[in-house]
Subunit: 181 residues, 2 copies
DNA sequence: TCAATATGAATGAACG
DNA sequence: CGTTCATTCATATTGA
């Protein structure tokens, strides 16, 4: 096959064991579990984790595979940025049904087509909904300062962030707890 | 995301690992007309359209078929990336020596805004002369060797693809013009 | 029908 | 932060 060696920094993924393409490892490739957890944290309201939080998260997630702090950092950066970017882009071409055809009422489908765009088709809202996690201010609203504090040394976890998805998770639940500050 | 991603389009996901999943997702398939216009814009020098431009383009092209802003966004993103990628693989020699080794970003400088590109033709041309490997050679076929040949008339920016008949023009023949300001 | 290729889509990493 | 680059993944397309 390909000449092994080129292990730049020692990154590699293990998520897909039998992936066809000879996936090269040069950059972090999060495992499903890692992504799941990161996503939950995000959904829980965490958008810009502090250095400490990043450290903790990274540390916890390392259980599921190789990961570094910067990966966590970038993940949140990208996730947040893209959330907005998408919002913005989509908001306009929503109904570009403008001009053109569509003389028939029986049509339809397409309408709904745009709506579900941002709704979770699968995985319903399972995680946590006990607080305002909607800081998805579309515009430049920076009022998302209601950041959550990931603090593991807390003894009063408002709500422990632990996977609640009805799935099999044969792994220690993340020990991160989000609490208001 | 990985397991079940929510991509902008709404369907589809990205299953890593597992063999071909049964999940079918539709993806935008540009019509020849759309491709033609996009290509023309690209050849005209447009490489990284702004959000605003993307919207306009998308809107115009919707006349020829289903299309969304993100499609336009990705199209340019991919087109540019692949052209460069292709070029990179083919250019090892004539770079020869001396002077400035561009790591990879020598000519795009102007991508941020067409403004720069058009208002500073000198710089671009100069760069091109130094590095003949940058802007042409587009394997798009057709003759577009002079893609970035910015007319010395920056006051008469008619080099844009398509007519410069003002600001409006809806339906039929596409009427996209680069908004160089 | 399947292998190879072109290209749409996604995302990690970084830049300004 | 918003934007851009690089690389990868997935699928539509095409050729044999």
């Amino acid at each position: 096959m390909e000449d092994n060696s080129i292990n730049m920094s020692g990154f590699c993924m293990r998520s897909s064991g039998s992936s066809s393409s000879g996936t090269k490892c040069g950059r972090w490739n999060p495992t499903t579990e890692q992504v799941k957890h990161l996503t939950q944290l995000f959904r829980a309201g965490l958008r810009t984790p502090s250095t400490d939080q990043i450290q903790k998260i990274s540390n916890q997630l390392s259980f599921y595979g190789k990961i570094e702090s910067k990966n966590v950092f970038y993940w949140f950066q990208n996730h947040k940025a893209r959330e907005r970017q998408k919002r913005r882009k989509v908001s306009f071409d929503d109904d570009k049904d403008v001009i053109v055809h569509r003389r028939d009422n029986s049509v339809h489908a397409s309408t709904q087509n745009l709506v579900e765009m941002y709704s979770e088709p699968n995985r319903v809202i399972e995680t946590l909904e006990l607080f305002p996690l909607n800081s998805f201010g579309d515009s430049e609203s920076e009022s998302e300062k209601l950041s959550m504090r990931v603090n593991e040394s807390r003894e009063n976890p408002i709500f422990a962030y632990t996977c609640t998805m009805g799935e099999q998770m044969e792994h220690p639940p993340l020990d991160l707890r989000l609490s208001f500050v």
